[in-house]
């Protein structure tokens, strides 16, 4: 964005940020369904995917209303190309091994929880309602991924090594979560959006406690990768979208 966005445009962009991260992570998790490390785990992880895609639908439907014309949740999900996607870089990263899947999830879940908790007080009552509806699910996501971080970190030598490697690999995508986009900045003062910079401390404190229990080491300061909220993504997103959007692109205008 080069010019300062007007309020409705900023709100639209902000809803995309919220919806896109849920959607892309849900899409990543959906690919694991039927391939999980144990049946019970497969079912539980699919629940998380269901929750996230369900929440994405709330955000994207609201965004589509603001956009008007013929927009709906599906045109937004299936007909935007990568540069128009506003998700965090973290969630588009590949599933990798289960350690990477869980660490990615844990970083996101805890951030997601704090965001929704703050958004329950949003002056946009529609946003506050969606946050209130979603937070119970996300509370469970936080418990589940945290539980796994501890089990994997403090499990076997192999699981510890793999999980620490995942942490070290994904850490560079965490900085972006606490840096506001222009759209967010335009909405903070009026109380529509949460100032994500204020969430860094509680998030980091939560991670520190969790990682201590998991016998894992939190990486220190390092240069962070950013750009997702502005549509500058990693190489992975193009493939995620190519797969997800295949039918809508191959049969333009068809109803499914």
């Amino acid at each position: 964005m080069t010019e300062a966005p007007n309020m409705d445009n900023a709100r639209y962009e902000y809803l995309l940020q919220l919806g896109d991260s849920d959607l892309i992570l849900g899409q990543r998790l959906a690919a694991l369904c039927g391939h999980g490390p144990a049946l019970e785990e497969d079912i539980a992880m699919t629940n998380v995917a269901l929750d996230l895609i369900g929440q994405a639908r709330f955000w994207l439907s609201y965004a589509a209303e603001l956009k008007g014309e013929d927009a709906d949740e599906d045109t937004l999900a299936f007909l935007r190309d990568a540069p128009a996607y506003r998700n965090l870089l973290l969630v588009e990263q590949p599933n990798g091994d289960y350690g990477q899947t869980i660490v990615r999830q844990c970083f996101y879940d805890v951030w997601h929880f704090f965001v929704l908790q703050a958004l329950m007080q949003s002056t946009d009552t529609r946003i506050a309602d969606i946050a209130a509806k979603s937070i119970k699910e996300v509370q469970y996501h936080v418990e589940r991924s945290g539980d796994w971080v501890v089990r994997l970190g403090d499990g076997t030598e192999e699981s510890h090594r793999r999980t620490q490697a995942a942490v070290d690999k994904l850490w560079r995508f965490t900085g972006e979560m606490f840096r506001s986009s222009e759209a967010e900045q335009a909405l903070i003062e009026s109380g529509v959006a949460v100032d994500v910079a204020t969430l860094y401390e509680p998030w980091h404190a939560h991670m520190q406690a969790l990682f201590e229990e998991a016998t894992l080491t939190l990486p220190g300061d390092q240069p962070m990768q950013t750009g997702g909220k502005a549509g500058e993504h990693t190489e992975h997103l193009g493939y995620v979208l190519a797969e997800m959007q295949h039918l809508q692109r191959a049969y333009p205008g068809a109803r499914w």
Partner: protein, 331 residues
């Protein structure tokens, strides 16, 4: 069907006069409709056959996640994606209930799964066919879940309590799956020419495998007769197949689709549809491992099992450490 060819281990079904006192007493309970429960006495062959049948059914649910899972990342709308995710998740749940039911007979889940991965245990032939287009997801829900319901509703009344009860839960979900599959087909058939063609193509490919899902012709199968005497099978394969065809033909008509069987015709006299003979060579080939996707399906399960081994080991190791810590704290 999901258990298509279950060996009962018997050579001949015996009448009451040929049974031992114990066997006769057991058969009398079954004939009276009394459910057999895990702690009850039961003939070894009954137990063994049930384990075979229930574990084949469980394996089918688990492998059955794969063909539809193939379209989870490509479902054309967010709502369809959610419905499909929930469905594939249900199938994992069905696998769980069924493994639990088999465990009540003394089978272990680890052993059953090892038999699946080694190729020793079978699963339904139907899941060895590929899902090539989105319409296949509609066709599977409509035809495969439709066929599953026809097979499984009677099993809700089978003689073994835990199996019957598991089936009650499963059947409720299967009918939801069937409706969703039909809804996908219906939408496609009311869509563009390309979508209609996609729906017809899916029916062309899934029809005969679905007809064969009910298992080989019973003929004078000893296994069928024995299983029916034990009430772990309530109708013959042929009766279930007829019911499936009678139920499905009007649905295909409603959709405006053509079933790829030139011999299919309503028979006034019998009140049923006459139909052509499936390619049984193909059926046996698929069952023996030579279907289009047998290798891929099994490999996907092996990859999940092997790839997840370190995760399961970690969870176990952590649980042990926690138990030791608790014990140390209590001491």
């Amino acid at each position: 069907m999901y258990a298509q060819n279950v060996d009962t281990g018997v050579k001949k079904v015996r009448g009451a006069d040929e049974m031992s006192a114990d066997e006769a007493a057991f058969q009398a309970r079954i004939d009276e409709g009394i459910k057999i429960e895990p702690k009850d006495e039961m003939p070894a062959a009954y137990r063994k056959t049930l384990i075979r049948q229930i574990s084949q059914h469980a394996h089918s649910e688990i492998v059955g996640q794969l063909p539809e899972g193939n379209w989870l990342t490509r479902a054309p709308t967010l709502e369809r994606k959610l419905i499909l995710l929930a469905k594939v998740q249900d199938e994992a749940g069905h696998g769980l209930y069924l493994y639990s039911a088999a465990e009540t007979l003394g089978a272990s889940r680890d052993d059953m799964q090892a038999d699946l991965l080694s190729g020793k245990a079978k699963y339904s032939s139907i899941f060895n066919y590929p899902t090539l287009t989105w319409a296949d997801i509609g066709a599977i829900g409509w035809l495969v879940d439709g066929a599953a319901i026809i097979n499984q509703i009677p099993i809700c009344r089978c003689s073994y309590g835990p199996y019957a009860r598991a089936m009650v839960r499963v059947c409720k979900e299967e009918s939801f799956h069937q409706r969703q599959g039909f809804d996908i087909m219906h939408t496609l058939c009311n869509g563009t020419e390309e979508q209609k063609a996609m729906a017809q193509d899916a029916l062309n490919r899934w029809w005969w495998p679905s007809v064969m899902m009910h298992g080989p012709r019973d003929g004078d199968s000893v296994n069928t007769a024995q299983s029916m005497q034990w009430k772990i099978k309530l109708f013959t394969n042929d009766a279930l197949r007829q019911k499936f065809i009678d139920q499905t033909v009007p649905q295909a008509d409603f959709l405006g689709l053509t079933i790829p069987d030139p011999e299919l015709e309503w028979n006034e006299e019998t009140g049923h549809y006459d139909f052509g003979e499936p390619d049984w060579d193909e059926f046996w080939n698929v069952l023996k491992g030579y279907g289009p996707c047998n290798q891929e399906r099994l490999q996907a399960r092996i990859d999940a099992e092997e790839g997840g081994a370190w995760v399961r080991e970690a969870a176990e190791a952590y649980a042990e450490k926690q138990a030791a810590r608790k014990a140390a704290a209590a001491a």
